[in-house]
């Protein structure tokens, strides 16, 4: 595969996939600018692996994993330098949020309070609609870990919705929380 062919094929893929990837990244990090950074880094990694991906297929799944990995890598870097507190004191509490903003904003605030891997489980399972196995592959962990992390995440989300006096949080079609 020569470079021009590689670039053309990759560009076509990136143009088609980047909006979806950016949405996933936004749900992971809660910031559109940082989401763009994660997608950019993820796509660079995809470009490097492109000849192999084309031979084997699965470009989108690989790109999704690359973006999640870029997000987790960035989280580790920040945690090693910034040492953020468990809860951002500048961030409105659940009650404040409840009084001021919509349910979807409550969800973003609640997601931000989850540990990164729990948040990733929620996003991959319920936004990307990955099953437990594919989520485990994307996060490089066991299926049991995905189940336990997801269960804890959903319990925390439900608790935060209750604290914010919002209606119950559920996954329609999959029964009520917790799982």
């Amino acid at each position: 595969m020569d470079r021009s062919s590689r670039d053309a094929d990759f560009s076509e893929f990136a143009a088609a996939a980047h909006s979806r990837l950016r949405s996933t990244a936004y749900l992971l990090c809660g910031d559109w600018e940082r989401a763009s950074d994660h997608v950019q880094e993820g796509l660079i990694r995809v470009y490097v692996a492109w000849p192999r991906l084309v031979r084997r297929g699965g470009e989108l799944a690989y790109a999704r994993k690359a973006v999640v990995s870029a997000f987790l890598d960035a989280s580790r870097k920040r945690s090693s330098t910034e040492r953020p507190s468990e809860v951002d004191s500048e961030r409105p509490s659940g009650e404040d949020v409840a009084a001021q903003v919509s349910d979807r904003a409550v969800l973003m605030a609640a997601l931000a309070r989850l540990p990164e891997r729990q948040r990733a489980c929620v996003v991959l399972r319920y936004f990307e609609d990955l099953d437990v196995r594919d989520t485990a592959v994307a996060l490089r962990c066991s299926e049991g870990t995905v189940k336990s992390q997801t269960s804890r995440a959903l319990a925390s989300l439900r608790s935060m919705f209750e604290s914010a006096s919002r209606d119950e949080l559920a996954v329609i079609g999959e029964g009520s929380l917790p799982w």
């Binding site: 990759f10 143009a15 936004y26 559109w32 763009s36 470009y47 319920y126 919705f161």
Partner: protein, 442 residues
């Protein structure tokens, strides 16, 4: 009323702000990251004697056992060929010569060397240290087409050994052992400002070794510290007929992996990984359990996702893995697998990063490897006879080519661009050497 989690997630991304992703920058960064891989450290001796020779060889099950002790050698668990299966390379058909340089008498004084090729095609040219350079190493960038040399400002390298780490369009990075083998310095030349800077890593353990250092696709330098040396049998290694030690089936050495920034001396990272030999491709890190002995398993980590897998490389029962290199989805392992009578069982085993056997070149006296981002495996046939000299194995076409029948006593080499390679031949009765830079033709 209930809030549907899935719907809320979708609602939150239903009206994204303008897209800040620069696809052009993605492409440019991707290309840079691919190119960066060419800067390999520690491959010098392996790539050093690249020679082009061309011979088309169909793959599986080739080669015929020769009579005598060679027939006693175990047959590799892979499609196998011999150096005698190679075809002689032809200039103009199989390869072209890009540059040459001759030192008439290296026995009398140190000379000039090719140390690698930059991303923009210039040869890193080293002069000295010798009396004529006041015992200081001088460096230049040489245009291979004209031989014109652009001499770089003095880097203060003195007489220390250097190895090119990265030969980029914008910067050149060399590693120096400072003559101590315990304290390294990275010398970085900014090609735009034409200035040198240095980086040391005081936080690195003093047990870290320069040999085997590898530049990762992330731009960090990966180095190993010895944790466990392979044990020598009680009473020492058995002796061969010629008195040499027979150390086939050695236990192998175990290392701990570290990485460092090439620009920030305080950035030293414990990778918390036990390794033997390590290598990188554009998108993967590969390592064995042990080095210079029984390698154990080969491990592959996808650098984009972190996914890992490992496999049994199916080494011979007595094989010591002495060289471990990789490019694309190919791994090249240079092995010594014992001596039978007076015939060595040396192997160049080529396999995929999934563990599939591609081909093994088995012969008496062969060693080699592949440069990062290259399709050319360069092999030295170092036994005297018709099969001596430099060979190329083309990973794209599975051709084995014999490019030169003799090698000098010195070495040449460093990173090259894709499908380029170095080799060297003797002159002046073996007292001097000619360096060659060639390019394999499609």
């Amino acid at each position: 009323m209930v809030n549907d989690l899935k719907q809320l997630l979708r609602d939150n991304v239903s009206s994204p702000p303008g897209d800040g992703i620069d696809l052009g920058e993605v492409l440019a960064s991707g290309r840079r990251r691919v190119r960066r891989r060419r800067g390999v450290v520690g491959l010098g001796a392996v790539v050093a004697a690249a020679t082009v020779a061309v011979v088309a060889v169909g793959l599986p099950g080739l080669g015929s056992d020769r009579a005598g002790p060679a027939a006693q050698r175990p047959r590799p668990d892979a499609p196998t060929i011999r150096l005698s299966d190679a075809q002689r390379a032809s200039v103009g058909r199989d390869y072209e010569v890009l540059a040459t340089y001759t030192n008439r008498d290296l026995d009398a004084a140190n000379g000039q060397y090719f140390d690698g090729v930059t991303d923009d095609g210039l040869i890193l040219f080293q002069d000295g240290p010798r009396d004529g350079t006041r015992l200081r190493t001088r460096l230049a960038l040489m245009d291979p087409a004209t031989g014109t040399k652009d001499w770089l400002p003095d880097a203060g390298l003195g007489q220390d050994n250097i190895r090119p780490v990265q030969l980029g369009r914008h910067r050149i990075v060399l590693l120096s052992d400072n003559g101590t083998a315990e304290h390294w310095t990275a010398y970085t030349f900014d090609r735009e400002t034409r200035s040198w800077s240095t980086t040391d890593w005081p936080g690195l353990p003093r047990t870290v070794e320069l040999d085997g250092a590898q530049l990762g696709p992330d731009g960090r330098l990966y180095v190993r510290s010895l944790v466990r040396a392979g044990e020598i049998p009680d009473g020492g290694w058995p002796k061969q007929e010629d008195g040499d030690a027979e150390d086939a089936d050695a236990q192998g050495d175990g290392y701990h992996l570290w990485s460092v920034s090439l620009s920030d001396g305080s950035d030293v990272r414990d990778e918390q990984l036990s390794v033997g030999a390590i290598a990188f491709t554009d998108d993967a890190m590969l390592w064995t359990d042990r080095a210079d002995g029984d390698a154990g398993r080969v491990h592959v980590r996808d650098l984009a996702t972190g996914t890992e897998h490992s496999f049994d490389p199916h080494l011979g029962a007595r094989c010591n893995v002495l060289g471990f290199t990789a490019s694309g989805d190919r791994i090249v392992m240079s092995e010594y697998c014992g001596t039978y009578g007076k015939v060595r069982d040396d192997r160049l085993q080529i396999l995929t990063t999934s563990g599939d056997q591609v081909v093994t070149i088995q012969d008496d006296g062969v060693a080699g490897g592949v440069g990062a981002d290259s399709d050319v495996v360069v092999a030295d046939g170092y036994r005297q006879g018709d099969d001596s000299g430099t060979y190329l194995y083309d990973l794209r076409t599975n051709r084995l080519l014999h490019i030169a029948h003799r090698m000098s006593h010195w070495s040449v080499g460093g990173p090259t661009r894709r499908n380029e390679f170095f080799w060297h031949t003797p002159v002046n009765g073996g007292r001097g050497a000619t360096w060659w830079l060639g390019k394999l033709l499609d």
